[in-house]
């Protein structure tokens, strides 16, 4: 089904709302468990995705909108409260000032935000060849994987697919391209401002070790971490879909009842 839509999307690239830069490929149309009106997150996948984020992405990217406590929220990875407490405590957080006016270090608490890898944007840029690694909290809502008014209506904006495609889309430049390669940049045709990207390929097989025994291929890690980032961007998605189902059911019945009332009142009144 998705294939059909992707093909249709090329036809309808047509009704595009936003222009896509020349030479940038639309994201790969992979499927996730959380798509569709009834889709939910795969807890195991979110837990694996968190591990990839923590051990790989978080070395350069901040995620300022998330707190450790969110990891045990309903509708997320749903780690236990004890796991989250233990996890948070492995981080050191600067707090203060105390009564003496001194800043001090303490172990992290569930209420703490995810610590950022750099003190500020300038430090982040200085450490990354002048390019600022964007905050990842909302990345899957801020980056469309494909365009087209009708395509996006049926398939969403493809944010998680965008992240997946960038992570799995690194290429060795051929001779022609190598001549154009700016120093310190890699070739990635899925990167929105591409094809040259400041981030070197972050994933390689077994760069993390999954706790559930899943084999950590690049493809697997890219799927897991992009699913995790879909959750961080929209942590209330499951609650939303569930409440939506109940609301629409209620409204549909209510509409039908009102229609019958209206019909009865108007019966025998020419109009």
């Amino acid at each position: 089904m998705r294939k059909i839509f992707i093909i249709a999307s090329v036809a309808f690239a047509a009704l595009t709302g936003v222009a896509q830069a020349e030479g940038v490929l639309p994201a790969k149309g992979i499927s996730y468990s959380f798509e569709g009106p009834l889709g939910t997150f795969d807890r195991g996948q979110l837990q694996r995705g968190y591990k990839v984020y923590k051990e790989v992405c978080a070395n350069c990217h901040s995620m300022k909108l998330m707190s450790f406590r969110n990891l045990s929220d309903k509708g997320g990875p749903e780690f236990t409260a004890e796991q989250v407490k233990a996890l948070a405590a492995t981080f050191t957080v600067k707090d203060g000032p105390n009564e003496d006016g001194e800043m001090f270090d303490r172990p992290g608490l569930p209420s703490d935000r995810f610590p950022s890898p750099f003190a500020n944007d300038q430090a982040a840029k200085a450490a990354n060849g002048g390019a600022l690694p964007p905050d990842l909290s909302l990345i899957t809502k801020a980056r469309p994987g494909w365009y087209g008014t009708i395509n996006q209506f049926f398939n969403g904006i493809g944010g998680p697919q965008y992240v997946y495609s960038v992570l799995t889309g690194y290429e060795e430049p051929d001779e022609e391209m190598a001549k154009l390669q700016p120093p310190g940049k890699s070739l990635n045709h899925y990167f929105a401002a591409g094809p040259w990207i400041g981030m070197p390929a972050p994933l390689s097989d077994d760069v993390v070790t999954y706790d559930d025994g899943t084999k950590a291929t690049v493809d697997q890690m890219a799927r897991d971490v992009s699913a995790f980032l879909a959750w961080t961007a929209e942590p209330k998605m499951e609650a939303r879909k569930h409440l939506g189902f109940m609301t629409l059911l209620y409204l549909a019945v209510f509409t039908l009842m009102l229609y019958l009332v209206k019909k009865k009142i108007w019966a025998g009144v020419p109009h």
Partner: protein, 428 residues
């Protein structure tokens, strides 16, 4: 205003109140007994739908304002705080953001309905003009609301729109500086936009009050466009139209809620989930979908001031519609040529919307740039220019001319006659 009721207070308190404030009589006369043409179709339910949307926007907006912080360093995160940490904050925000789009969908249907059935014609000119004022206030309110989350499109959209005023000769720059509250879009701009975004809906509500007042003096138009001639032509507003409107409102809520729960970000821009950054210009700055036709008109004129004038003129021209239409009949139901041009006009407005959505120099409905060789290419810009021409041509030439020369079809003598003929057709 209370000539349609025989309200008699029945309780002692009712009598006491009636002598001091005859509000119950007003409610009964205007909200229940009000004689309404018996033949209104479902296009007439959008008035009630709009009133509902205004209430929804005000209620959700008041709650959002309790949790939102209008400061350049905090606004973006406070919206995410609403989305993540406020109980059902995500619901309130998605209702408000999508509610704006629903409000515009309903208002466009409402305006086109008025155009088709000649509801702007005498004696409803003032009613129509108040409606245009309401529409203008809506546009200003929605524009300022979109700035508040302080994302990339918020910031750059605000920049483009406020910069339009700099096209005004001599005082343009001074006006822009005054609007911004400084020499660039910054905290003072965000603060005043928040203040005005909170204020304008109440101005809007007052204008809606005038709109309803101006409606209740001549009474509703109706699909035949023929004036009410006897009490046979009408039904009391309650229960006939209260229940019909309520049914339509709840059916509209189904549509609205489907967006809120299952596609809450579709009508927005992805890039607005990037915080505002004055140093990084987005590749393509576009307004919300409901402004796109006017954005196309703005860009159609090669001269900046000319574009601004054309854009404002495209709305202000609506004020003159009652006098541009010279036909003795109101409803296009009996005006075959006007009907054809009405639908052409609707299509042109949709085309203008698409024309406003793409980069001017790309081929229309494509994301490929046309070569800059000076030749003719079917680009967004060209389509926008042709459609802009037709937009004004419709109002300034077609309507006055067609309404004067067209051969109208025979209209029934009264609403009752039309209704009975229809009932007869159904029976046959």
């Amino acid at each position: 205003m209370s000539g349609h009721s025989n309200y008699q207070p029945t309780t002692r308190f009712g009598k006491w109140l009636h002598e001091r404030l005859p509000i119950m009589e007003l409610i009964q006369a205007q909200g229940m007994d009000f004689p309404t043409p018996r033949n209104l179709n479902y296009w007439w339910t959008f008035g009630g739908i709009l009133a509902t949307m205004l209430v929804v926007q005000i209620l959700t907006g008041v709650v959002l304002a309790m949790h939102y912080t209008p400061h350049v360093d905090l606004a973006f995160n406070s919206v995410e705080h609403i989305m993540r940490d406020v109980n059902y904050g995500w619901l309130i925000r998605y209702m408000h953001a999508n509610g704006a789009s629903m409000f515009f969908i309903a208002v466009y249907i409402h305006i086109f309905r008025g155009m088709y059935y000649g509801s702007y014609k005498a004696p409803r000119e003032v009613l129509w003009m108040i409606g245009v004022v309401i529409y203008l206030i809506m546009m200003a309110t929605a524009f300022m609301g979109y700035v508040l989350p302080w994302g990339q499109m918020s910031f750059w959209g605000a920049k483009v729109i406020t910069n339009l005023f700099s096209a005004i000769p001599f005082v343009g720059d001074a006006i822009t500086t005054w609007l911004w509250g400084g020499f660039s879009i910054d905290n003072p701009t965000l603060n005043r936009f928040f203040s005005l975004h909170y204020l304008l809906p109440f101005v809007l509500a007052a204008a809606v009050g005038l709109h309803i007042w101006a409606l209740h003096v001549p009474g509703n138009n109706n699909p035949t466009g023929i004036s009410v001639k006897s009490s046979q032509d009408t039904l009391p507003f309650h229960p006939y139209y209260t229940m019909k409107d309520l049914f339509a409102i709840v059916a509209f809520l189904v549509f609205y809620m489907a967006w809120v729960f299952y596609s809450p970000n579709y009508l927005g821009h992805a890039i607005n989930y990037d915080p505002a950054n004055p140093l990084v210009t987005p590749a393509h700055i576009v307004p919300e979908w409901y402004y796109l036709p006017f954005y196309a008109i703005l860009r159609a004129i090669p001269d900046k001031l000319g574009g601004v004038i054309a854009m404002f003129a495209s709305i202000l021209i609506l004020f003159f519609l009652p006098w541009l239409d010279r036909s003795p009949l109101r409803s296009f139901k009996y005006r075959p040529l006007s009907r054809v041009f009405f639908w052409i006009f609707v299509v042109v407005c949709v085309i203008l919307g698409f024309a406003g959505s793409g980069l001017p120099d790309n081929y229309f409905l494509s994301h490929h740039a046309a070569p800059a060789d000076g030749g003719f290419h079917f680009t967004y810009k060209i389509v926008g220019q042709l459609a802009t021409f037709w937009y004004f041509f419709h109002f300034l030439v077609i309507i006055p001319l067609v309404s004067k020369i067209e051969r109208t079809e025979k209209a029934p003598a009264s609403i009752t006659e039309a209704v009975l003929a229809k009932a007869h057709d159904h029976a046959a």
